[in-house]
């Protein structure tokens, strides 16, 4: 048998009591009243999460919105190597590299845009990054916006998270 398939006994013929229908409605009413009374008495046990005030704790490996990491001096850790943009199956990362003012670092991202409308949240960019500069551990879903432009996240927004 296929996994997850539950076999329910469904008799071909309804018994006399079942065919009257009224008795079965009474049983159904008893079930719903049971839920009703239980939920009134144990109000705290209702599984609803009151979303904006209370948030579900995300599992440790949940892939949420991206963030860019910083060095101790506050500059982005990213070296604009294009590994993430290359790995991205949705082609949603746009990087423009510039020469870094720091002599120890070769390049830095002048632009680093992620189009959240195209992102498929696969996590390939995080896997590809050689410097651990991009992470998806914010625990956030993409929040809704009213224009498409607002959903293309620029480097400032990615760094501040």
């Amino acid at each position: 048998m296929t996994i997850g398939v539950k076999k329910v006994a469904r008799p071909e013929q309804m018994s006399f009591g079942e065919s009257l229908y009224l008795l079965e409605i009474m049983k159904g009413l008893a079930v719903t009243m049971g839920h009703f009374l239980h939920n009134i008495a144990h109000n705290k046990e209702i599984p609803t999460i009151e979303y904006p005030e209370v948030r579900r704790t995300m599992p440790a490996r949940f892939r949420g919105c991206h963030r860019l990491m910083k060095r101790p001096d506050g500059s982005p850790r990213c070296v604009a190597c294009y590994m993430c943009a290359t790995a991205c199956p949705a082609k949603c990362i746009t990087i423009v590299a510039g020469e870094s003012p720091d002599p120890a670092v070769e390049k830095y991202p002048v632009r680093f845009d992620i189009d959240m409308l195209r992102c498929v949240f696969c996590g390939q960019c995080v896997e590809a990054c050689p410097c651990d500069a991009i992470r998806m551990d914010t625990g956030w879903h993409t929040p809704p916006e009213d224009t498409r432009e607002k959903l293309i996240y620029m480097i400032d927004k990615l760094l501040e998270k």
Partner: protein, 367 residues
Amino acid sequence: MNPLFDIAVAVARVAVFFAFVFGLVVVMTWVERKGAAYIQDRRGPNRARILGLTLGGVFHPLADALKFLFKEDFIPDGAHRLFYQLAPMFALAPAIMTMAVVPFGPPVTIAGKTIALQIADLNVGILYLFAVSGMAVYGVVLAGWSSNSKYPLLGGLRSSAQMISYEVSMGLSVMGILMVFQSVRLSEIALGQGELLYGILPKWGVFVQPLGFVLFLTALYAEANRTPFDLPEGESELVAGYHLEYASFKFSMFMMAEYIHMVVGAAVVSTLFFGGWQFPYLADKGFAFPGGISVAVPAAAVLILRIGSFVGKTLFFCWLYVWVRWTVPRFRYDQVMRLGWKVMLPLSLLNIFVTGLVLLFIDKGGF
């Protein structure tokens, strides 16, 4: 006595019953949503707040009313402008008119005058009720047709067929009650249910007409377009049914009509089948239990107990609507029609026949 007193009494009766029914309508919208939520293991409305208090979402009806008031009141381009605007009135007016004949208490004597606690004690009572509530179908059909849109039209067609079919068994299922109590006046039916059956049971309609009660309740749900007979609205196939093209206060008039139907229907069921304002074993002077024990109760307390008993029964049947709605799934359309014509109609005819036989041969002169 002076005519001013009569006018004052008439106005007071209308005001009290209006306030009761409309207050209950407002409360029912909240009860429906909160009850649905608790039955389905949800929390339900709890966001609208005044001064930081939510009180379990009781402010939501107020928020709804405000929202309906301030929404744009549009008329679709292709709609028939006159009938489109008439339809909500046709839906609401009969619903309000039906409440006139329900007695909410025994007649009281004030300043030497006997006052019936009922807006109008019509001698045609229940016939008026059926005649007026039958008009409600015009609102639905007009709304469905005049919107010039396919889903409302289908919803209107369905509900007209459904409401007319169930009207038949609804009328026939009450016939037994009329035969037993020998009257169509709701006040006399309520009064007749104060007697005892074999000295033990109160002579309530549900005990002398159990089949009639089940049939009437089922037909009432179909008449009020409530689940399991809410096919006119069938969200899954008709979006919202006959009031799909309505917004703002016109839509809320349809909603109000539905809830007033519910409340008045609950009041009528409790009057016809559960003794109306009769409190079990409570006579004019006090309690008289079957064992010969009697407890004296002051007249004012008797009156309060009786009105309270009517209100309590009405509240229970209002809750039953909500309870059934979140228990029984919607029927398929052909099942509704089959139930109406092939089950309800023969059963209600059988009920009349058996009641007639019992009255004729076993219990002459009405139990």
